[in-house]
């Protein structure tokens, strides 16, 4: 027993070194801009860069739209399956797993081929419609996370009984969906949402190939041309990811009963 | 010489002591049941005997050998778990033969022993199945065979029937008992189900909050509970306040009516308040007769349970339950009817004053 605990500490210590050293290294590097002393100059330059603000703002906007569209698409679908179409579950689950199978670069390649300006649905013809396509591509990428977290939440609360109880009390469809179902899967939706946010904000492949001014391509551009700013950006990106994950933890814990039930079913 | 000796066993987790000075000796071939509510320490004692918990103090001897500090795999003790704990990657035969395989016995020996065990548990056709393909009852029988295959000195069963359906629970418990008798193996069975304990044990250890409340045969435990905890935990018992009228002749006053008990008064003197107890099956609605106690009461509730009808009857300030056998020719009394409750002077228990007050 003693030796296995020692082994566990050793494994943990090695893991901690591997995961913390790059963060420390990056942070240290980001402070090196002045020749003779550490400074936050790189951060100052990054924050002052209008393209930083513009691209980050654009990506945050895209992320929020992705989350809204994703929830609007996934929650009713998962609810409908749970309640009315359990036999469609394997099919829908399979589809939601496909974005893990098909690399993002392949999907966007398909978009460029299918929705070019001379096609029947010319999404890429102008900037606004390309934005729409980008949001839809992000919703596609986030399907595996979104669907799974919502589905787990729905299964944990026994929506069928809840729906029947609400109906027997005289509730209509909208009341059921917004007053009964959404609140009960809130933590599932929120964890899916923050995960989506973390993935979308720094996304590179889709945005770059659809040629939109997003944060990911901006990062890449800075990385190719500057020395110290990329490290500062990496630290900022890491903090954004941490914040999203931290929020997942907070919201996942909120209704204790629901998460405990979810843990049992998974 | 006793086969399994436990001397002042103690276990504390941090500041909390869950087993206090547990003492017991068990003979070879005995079937002992640890009975008590959850958290009474029964499983902890079992796990100390198995070697999964190290006692904070005390000694455990199996067959004369002090095993207190032995690792579980050096004790040769068979264990059956509530959750079966069959190895999911091994077949039934693989599970049953595991102890022999670990002990590096020959393939032929393992094979014949596994077959023998499969016949013993009446599942000879399931050797090649995997645990997930078996019902709960079958899984637990395989777990039993697995624990017995290596010919352990002691068989430990940790609530082995709790996860099963009521019907299988009853049939499997008599099967376990029959198998235990046939093999003559010393066994300790942990349960919180008093009916289970009464039906299969040679002796029962009733535990409460880490202490022994009583050790005795099922007959003793049921009929002569030492204290209020045992009395109320086992079977249904009506408790009534009483005053001692005549200590020498066992005359008491219950609810202002005179009764007599042939049971010891546990040192209570004239004028003392005591608690008396009655089993539902000891009371009848027969009219008065010699050498029996009678109490006048009003029928408050009639519950039809099938073969038995349970009646709650009210005295002035106490309620007691009685059972009568169902008889189509004799309908139960009406609600509100006045009845005379009759019971033998031997059946009126006087509970230990000190324990009753606690």
């Amino acid at each position: 027993m003693k030796s296995s605990r020692l082994g566990a500490w050793v494994a943990l210590a090695i893991g901690a070194i591997y995961f913390l050293v790059p963060l420390i290294g990056t942070f240290e590097f980001s402070l090196r801009m002045r020749r003779d002393q550490y400074s936050f100059d790189a951060y100052a330059i990054v924050f002052a860069d209008p393209r930083f603000q513009a691209t980050l703002g654009y990506s945050v906007m895209m992320a929020i739209l992705t989350i809204i569209v994703g929830i609007a698409l996934v929650v009713p679908t998962a609810y409908w399956i749970e309640l009315r179409m359990p036999k469609a579950r394997p099919l829908v689950e399979f589809i939601t797993l496909l974005p893990l199978v098909i690399p993002a670069i392949v999907i966007v390649f398909g978009y460029l081929h299918l929705y070019n300006s001379s096609s029947f649905l010319p999404f890429t013809a102008n900037e606004r419609s390309t934005d729409v396509l980008l949001v839809c591509s992000y919703v596609t990428l986030s399907l595996p996370y979104m669907y799974r977290s919502v589905d787990t939440g729905l299964r944990a609360v026994d929506v069928r009984t809840l729906t029947e109880a609400a109906e027997s009390l005289g509730a209509g469809w909208t009341t059921i969906l917004f007053k009964v179902i959404f609140p009960n899967v809130r933590s599932g939706i929120l964890s899916g949402a923050f995960l989506t946010f973390a993935v979308v904000v720094g996304e590179f492949t889709m945005a770059s190939l659809l040629d939109r001014p997003a944060f990911g391509p901006y990062l890449q551009l800075v990385g190719a041309n500057r020395a110290y700013e990329p490290s500062a950006l990496a630290i900022i990106a890491f903090i954004v990811t941490w914040a999203s994950m931290g929020l997942i933890q907070i919201f996942a814990r909120a209704p204790k009963g629901a998460t405990a039930a979810a843990d049992r079913t998974t | 010489m006793p086969f399994l000796e436990i001397e002042s066993l103690q276990k504390s987790f941090g500041a909390q002591t869950v087993v206090h000075h547990f003492e017991m000796t068990i003979d070879q071939g005995e079937f002992i049941t640890f009975l008590g509510p959850s958290g009474c320490g029964k499983t902890t004692i079992l796990r100390m005997i198995a070697g999964f918990e190290i006692p904070s103090a005390g000694i455990i001897r199996i067959d004369g050998k002090d095993v207190t500090r032995f690792r579980p795999n050096q004790r040769n003790v068979g264990m059956v778990f509530q959750s079966y704990a069959l190895f999911p990657n091994l077949t039934v035969a693989g599970n049953i033969g595991f102890a022999l395989k670990v002990a590096k016995r020959s393939t032929a020996e393992i094979k014949s022993r596994v077959e023998e065990m499969l016949h013993l548990i009446k599942l000879p056709h399931l050797a090649d199945r995997y645990p997930r393909q078996l019902s709960g009852g079958q899984q637990q029988r395989v777990a039993l065979a697995r624990a017995l295959a290596g010919r352990p000195k002691v068989l430990l069963l940790d609530e082995p029937l709790s996860a099963l359906d009521a019907k299988i629970r009853v049939s499997l418990r008599s099967e376990i008992r029959a198998l235990q008798r046939q093999l003559g193996i010393t066994s300790i069975f942990v349960t919180h189900d008093q009916e289970e304990a009464l039906s299969i044990s040679d002796r029962i250890v009733v535990l409460s909050e880490g202490r022994t409340a009583q050790i005795g045969t099922p007959f003793e435990i049921y009929n002569f509970p030492n204290n209020r905890f045992v009395a109320s935990f086992i079977g249904t018992l009506s408790l009534l306040p009483a005053l001692v009228v005549d200590a020498r002749n066992g005359r008491l006053s219950v609810d202002g009516q005179d009764v007599v008990t042939n049971r010891p008064l546990n040192g209570a003197a004239v004028g003392d308040a005591v608690t008396v107890a009655l089993r539902p099956e000891a009371i009848t609605l027969q009219p008065q007769s010699e050498n029996r106690n009678n109490l006048d009461a009003v029928v408050e509730e009639v519950g039809f349970l099938g073969s038995v009808i349970r009646i709650r009857a009210r005295l002035n300030d106490a309620v007691l339950s009685l059972d009568m056998f169902n008889n189509p020719n004799q309908p139960p009394p009406e609600l509100g009817a006045r009845v005379a409750l009759s019971f033998s002077q031997d059946d009126l228990l006087v509970l230990d004053a000190a324990v009753a007050a606690a």
């Binding site: 963060l23 496909l98 | 595991f98």
Partner: protein, 301 residues
């Protein structure tokens, strides 16, 4: 109201025409999702798969598939497979040890949630910023490189190591591969019941027996399945590799990226075949993952 009436009818026999109505209504509820999936997932993929079997004039051909077997393309696949295999095997092995330490290591209670949360962050900290982090740490002027040279006189780059090379990229990928493994494996390790260990002990078995006969046979589908998922994860990754190596390392996703940007293969349809090859490889490893996960879940039930 509408709901209970409809489910009632669907079960009851005797009104065949209305049952048909109801069934199609049920499917209609899935229509938004299905239309979305077809538009943005299935059709774009399908059109590439079809394109892989067409020439520039739209006629059926196998030439594109044949052209995949030219040395430069094969090399790209081969390097991709090597990097994905190295990062998934190492990630699976290290992730396994780490998950074991966290779940079964009897460490203080705060360790597990901390490590799992961090794993959630790190497994999503892929892409461009991750490349920056490793350049800043192990690049030619990175912190670790400099510290090693200053304090031990050891020149990392004299060993032939280069963060822009095979091992550099593998080491970088491990930063999201290991945490992903921890996240996938933690529930599987939770599924290893303490009673199995105790049963093995009481039957006379040692730690060696437990590992060889029970724990590893029970766990291997989860471990191997997760390694396949890691493989697919690494195989499809573009951003990290592109930001780290630019185009100095010809792995398939980067070749495809360059092809999309500027038709470097000078053959649109060969590009489609390249994409098809990626789907097949990630598809096979994902299918393996799903199959093994099913096996693992059945075994635990």
């Amino acid at each position: 109201m509408a709901l209970s009436a409809q489910t009632g009818v669907a079960v009851a026999p005797g009104a065949p025409s209305s049952i048909l109505d109801r069934i199609s209504w049920s499917w209609l509820g899935l229509a938004p999702f299905m239309i979305f999936a077809i538009l943005f997932l299935i059709a774009p993929t399908a059109i590439l798969m079809i394109g892989a079997f067409q020439d520039s004039a739209g006629h059926f051909t196998l030439v594109n598939i044949q052209n995949l077997f030219q040395p430069s393309v094969l090399d790209a696949y081969w390097i991709s497979i090597e990097i994905s295999a190295a990062s998934s095997l190492l990630g699976a092995a290290i992730g396994f040890l780490l998950a074991w330490a966290v779940v079964k290591g009897a460490l203080p209670g705060w360790i597990r949630p901390t490590v799992l949360t961090f794993s959630g962050v790190a497994s999503n900290f892929a892409g461009v910023p991750l490349a920056f982090a490793f350049l800043a740490t192990l690049g030619r002027v990175g912190l670790v490189t400099i510290l090693l040279r200053t304090f031990t006189g050891f020149d990392l780059y004299s060993t032939g190591f280069n963060i822009l090379s095979f091992w550099g990229l593998t080491l970088t990928y491990l930063y999201f591969q290991i945490p992903l493994m921890v996240l996938i494996l933690a529930p599987a390790l939770d599924g290893l019941r303490t009673e199995w260990r105790e049963a093995c002990d009481s039957l006379g078995g040692t730690a060696w027996h437990y590992w060889r006969d029970i724990a590893l046979p029970v766990l291997w589908p989860s471990v191997f399945g997760a390694a396949l998922l890691l493989f697919a994860n690494a195989f499809g990754a573009v951003a990290t590799a592109y930001a780290l190596t630019g185009s100095s390392l010809d792995i398939v996703p980067i070749v495809l990226y360059a092809q999309i940007r500027g038709d470097v293969l000078h053959d649109q349809n060969l590009g489609y075949a390249l994409a098809l090859g990626m789907i097949i490889i990630t598809g096979v490893s994902n299918a393996g993952y799903i199959w093994l996960r099913g096996r693992a879940e059945r075994g635990r039930a």
